[in-house]
């Protein structure tokens, strides 16, 4: 017996040692420090990469590299016929991470799910306000209109949760895949509350995700280890390190020098160098964004679709995109939503460059002068509003329209731009939140968004009917059809000039496998492996 024990111990030691020898570390050069590690309280993509996508899981998840919904902590769910009640069935036996600071005594259950959402809106919940962290705003929970749509969360039994809505809202499922909907541990929260250390909840995270938190040196390095109890199976990487490197050039030099394995957002100027290097691969994808220019459709002569079409036709879009995005490139936009999003209508084409035709229509309409709005801020969907304005101004001058450029600082710009009676053409754009088409169509062009984020003050009955119907329909095939029709109307009515979907890039060393670009702009390391 003793011999067997000794042998077993030796075997264990050997396997531990060999494990140590081949411990795989993946280093990700992230672009900024996370604000904290509680995804309910933060808003930045870099915050989410460091918390929700590593440490936490959600009821439903986005398919890796796509925007489709797939099961997460919920194995399956049912939606009632009236679209008001969602019943989620949790995966049994899911363990929260065991760390130096928390040892879970029970598996994930419905209490954790209810708590994860309750804390974000219920003012009576001690985790909602100052007792936890000062000045909490729960931006995404309110920003996604959850208070308006959610009537209640209920525990049916340990592994069943029921969500009741105030009105049907098909994008709800996509919302539940978003970072703010990460499921946290109620047991951990209770323990911290008892110990009077509530703030630790945001600095020492505990979740059910693929990696568990080890250490964070402020503004410098974040360390994670593979979660041995991960319910989808332990990751192939043993250690994950985020080396925070804000300068884009330094980030790329680090990948080229082998100091990190993956880095996001290279400078356009470095793209040629990266492509020429044999040790790394440049990944790219059309981002989940759109740059566009809204015409105020209520002020003549811009109220006439033919005038708006003519203004679009007068712009040499290809040259404009080339000048704005340079080596980084961008996908010319045919629709409001990018081609990576489901329901993108491949048959719809936006106006093509035709200054001759435009000139005649504009002369007939008597359009001689127009305001053209530009701001100072660099946005992912438009790196230079001012440059764009100058090029469009030159194009319009060729067809006899004098554009007066109006400049404001970014915040003031949007404040002025959203006013119903704002004249002229207003450059703006959008980066999607949850991969649901509703997040583009309804947020940007619903009648109710006039004065908020519908910068065209455009309210078209047919378009509105379609997008509202799609919002209330839970069947995705049915919704796809509705959105496809909505895109046809949008193209016909042209409430805006569509510019482009900018490319997003990441640089990956060639010995890394399984890393995928994500249309939602997140960086995930589940399923990623590295060879020597």
């Amino acid at each position: 017996m003793k011999k067997t024990m000794t042998f077993a111990a030796a075997l264990l030691a050997a396997s531990v040692l060999s494990g140590m020898a081949s411990a795989k570390t993946l280093v990700y050069c992230s672009e900024a420090s996370p604000a904290n590690f509680d995804p309910g309280t933060t808003t930045g993509g870099n915050d989410f990469d460091a918390s929700s996508r590593t440490v936490y899981s959600r009821l439903v998840e986005f398919k890796h590299g796509g925007t489709e919904i797939e099961p997460g902590l919920a194995d399956k769910w049912e939606i009632s016929d009236d679209g008001l009640v969602y019943t989620f069935h949790l995966h049994p036996g899911v363990k929260f991470q065991t760390t130096d600071y928390f040892k879970p005594t029970r598996d994930l259950n419905a209490d954790d799910v209810v708590f994860s959402f309750d804390r974000q809106f219920n003012k009576q919940n001690p985790w909602n306000g100052d007792k936890y962290l000062p000045n909490l705003t729960w931006d995404y929970y309110t920003g996604m209109d959850m208070p308006k749509y959610v009537a209640k969360w209920e525990k049916v039994d340990d592994l069943t949760v029921k969500l009741t809505l105030t009105e049907p809202n098909a994008p709800m499922l996509a919302n539940l895949g978003m970072d703010f909907a990460s499921i946290v541990s109620k047991e951990y929260a209770d323990q911290l509350q008892k110990d009077g250390k509530m703030a630790d909840f945001s600095t020492k995270p505990v979740g059910t995700g693929p990696f568990q938190f080890v250490d964070y040196q402020l503004d410098s390095v974040i360390r994670y280890a593979a979660n041995p109890d991960y319910f989808k199976g332990k990751e192939k990487i043993d250690d994950l390190v985020f080396a925070i490197t804000p300068d884009a050039t330094a980030r790329i030099q680090k990948v080229l020098a082998g100091e990190c394995d993956v880095a996001p957002y290279p400078n356009p100027a470095d793209i040629a160098t990266i492509k020429a290097n044999k040790d790394v691969t440049l990944l790219d994808q059309a981002g989940l964004n759109i740059g566009y220019m809204s015409y105020n459709t209520t002020i003549p002569p811009l109220d006439k679709p033919e005038v708006r079409h003519a203004l679009n036709q007068a712009i040499d879009r290809e040259a404009l995109i080339k000048s704005l995005f340079q080596d980084a490139g961008a996908t010319p936009a045919e629709n409001l939503i990018p081609p990576t999003m489901w329901s993108w209508n491949k048959d719809v084409k936006t106006d093509t460059y035709n200054p001759e035709a435009a000139k005649k229509v504009l002369a007939d309409a008597g359009l001689k002068e127009i305001q053209l709005w530009a701001s100072d801020r660099v946005r992912p969907y438009n790196p230079n509003f001012q440059r764009a304005a100058e090029l469009i101004q030159a194009d319009w001058a060729k067809v006899g329209v004098k554009a007066n450029i109006v400049n404001y600082e970014w915040t003031k710009y949007r404040e002025e731009g959203k006013k119903k009676d704002r004249p002229g053409a207003f450059q703006i754009g959008w980066t999607g939140d949850n991969g649901d088409p509703d997040n583009f169509f309804a947020t940007l062009f619903a009648c109710s968004a006039i004065g908020v984020s519908n910068y065209s003050s455009w309210c078209d009955k047919d378009f509105e009917d379609l997008i509202q119907k799609a919002k209330k329909t839970s069947d995705q095939a049915e919704r796809t059809k509705l959105y496809e029709q909505a895109q046809v109307i949008f193209a016909k009515q042209a409430p805006a000039f569509l510019l482009a979907h900018s490319q997003v890039y990441a640089v990956v060393r060639n010995n890394v496998t399984g890393f995928k670009m994500d249309p939602l702009g997140i960086h995930r390391f589940d399923g990623v492996d590295k060879s020597e």
Partner: protein, 335 residues
């Protein structure tokens, strides 16, 4: 001496008030409403806007906001970061040792090269060495830090592979901070390879940050030395038949160093300003990078209190320099 000191301290009070007003006003003069700026493209509903305005105290009259702010600062409360929700002072204390360590090495680099170069240029006045040194110093002084840093990274780290690209220490080294100084902590933990790694990470950022002070120190040493070399006592020393090394090293240098010490003290402000860019390029986790990040995040509380804390440090250093100067040169005290 005491009177001199009290006088200097009394003069700091209006400066301090001025700084609180500047830090406070600067943040409020930034274009755009802070709450709308935080909200981004999403915008914010009017009712929610009012709620947030009240929560952050922006609904109060401006003088009341200022009074509140001064009251808080006076009691050592520098506020809580809007983005991280951690106390600003706590973040500052965690990050400041990194800036201090980098500044220290940058200053060593500037002094070790700058003082001998300045002396040599003065002694060999008008020679090709003097002329090329002064030319180089002018270039160094006007060098854009951002460009210089990236150039060094691309050449030494990217092309030659001699130095690490960025960061404070190799990622394989992982120990709890004791003093916050990576070079000291690695030694306290008895890890020599970690110490070497920390030093190698310091090379490029210290050179970049030390470049401007190096140019200033070299020029200042040269001109102070030239002035002293023309003095009677130097001529006397020479006439006594002392060796050139002794004349320059003992008689001239000791007197020439007085203005150089002041210059070095005044370079602290330059170092902190330079740290903002240097730290951002080299991913150095200090207060410079912290300020830049906070500006991009529109974290007004951190920007406001960070400015104040940095200004306090510069003021404290300047006070120490004034005192040291008075100690070295008694004539100042009487004036």
């Amino acid at each position: 001496m005491l009177r001199y000191l009290l006088n200097k301290i009394a003069l700091l009070i209006p400066t301090l008030v001025g700084i609180t007003i500047c830090a406070f006003a600067f943040v409020r003069l930034l274009p755009g409403d802070p709450i709308l700026a935080m909200a981004g493209e999403h915008g914010v509903a009017p009712a929610r806007y009012e709620e947030l305005k009240e929560q952050f105290g922006y609904n109060l009259p401006i003088w009341e906001q200022y009074a509140r702010y001064v009251g808080e600062v006076a009691t050592g409360d520098f506020g809580v970061s809007i983005s991280s929700k951690r106390p600003v002072l706590e973040e500052f204390k965690t990050l400041f040792p990194a800036t201090l360590e980098l500044s220290f090495f940058a200053m060593i680099f500037a002094m070790v090269l700058g003082i001998p170069a300045g002396i040599f240029a003065a002694v060999k006045r008008g020679s090709w060495f003097d002329q090329s040194l002064m030319g180089t110093a002018l270039v160094g002084y006007s060098m854009p830090i951002f460009w210089w840093g990236l150039l060094l990274i691309i050449f030494f780290s990217g092309y030659l592979g001699w130095t690490p690209v960025s960061g404070r220490i190799g990622l394989q080294f992982f120990f709890k901070p004791i003093t916050g100084f990576m070079t000291i902590d690695s030694l306290l933990h008895g890890k020599w390879d970690a110490f070497r790694s920390a030093l190698s990470h310091l090379v490029l950022p210290a050179i970049v940050l030390g470049t401007i002070p190096l140019a200033v120190i070299a020029r200042q040493t040269r001109s102070a030395m030239l002035e002293v070399l023309g003095e009677d006592y130097v001529r006397t020393a020479r006439a006594k038949g002392l060796s050139a090394a002794r004349v320059i090293g003992v008689h001239a240098l000791r007197n020439a160093l007085i203005p150089v010490v002041t210059t070095i003290g005044l370079q602290v402000g330059t170092l902190l300003a330079g740290a903002i860019l240097t730290e951002t390029i080299f991913a150095w986790p200090g207060i410079g990078k912290w300020m830049v990040d906070s500006i991009f995040k529109r974290d007004y509380v951190v920007v406001q209190s960070g400015l104040l804390l940095i200004a306090l440090i510069v003021m404290a250093v300047n006070l120490i320099v004034d005192v040291l100067y008075a100690v070295i040169n008694p004539r100042i005290r009487a004036a």
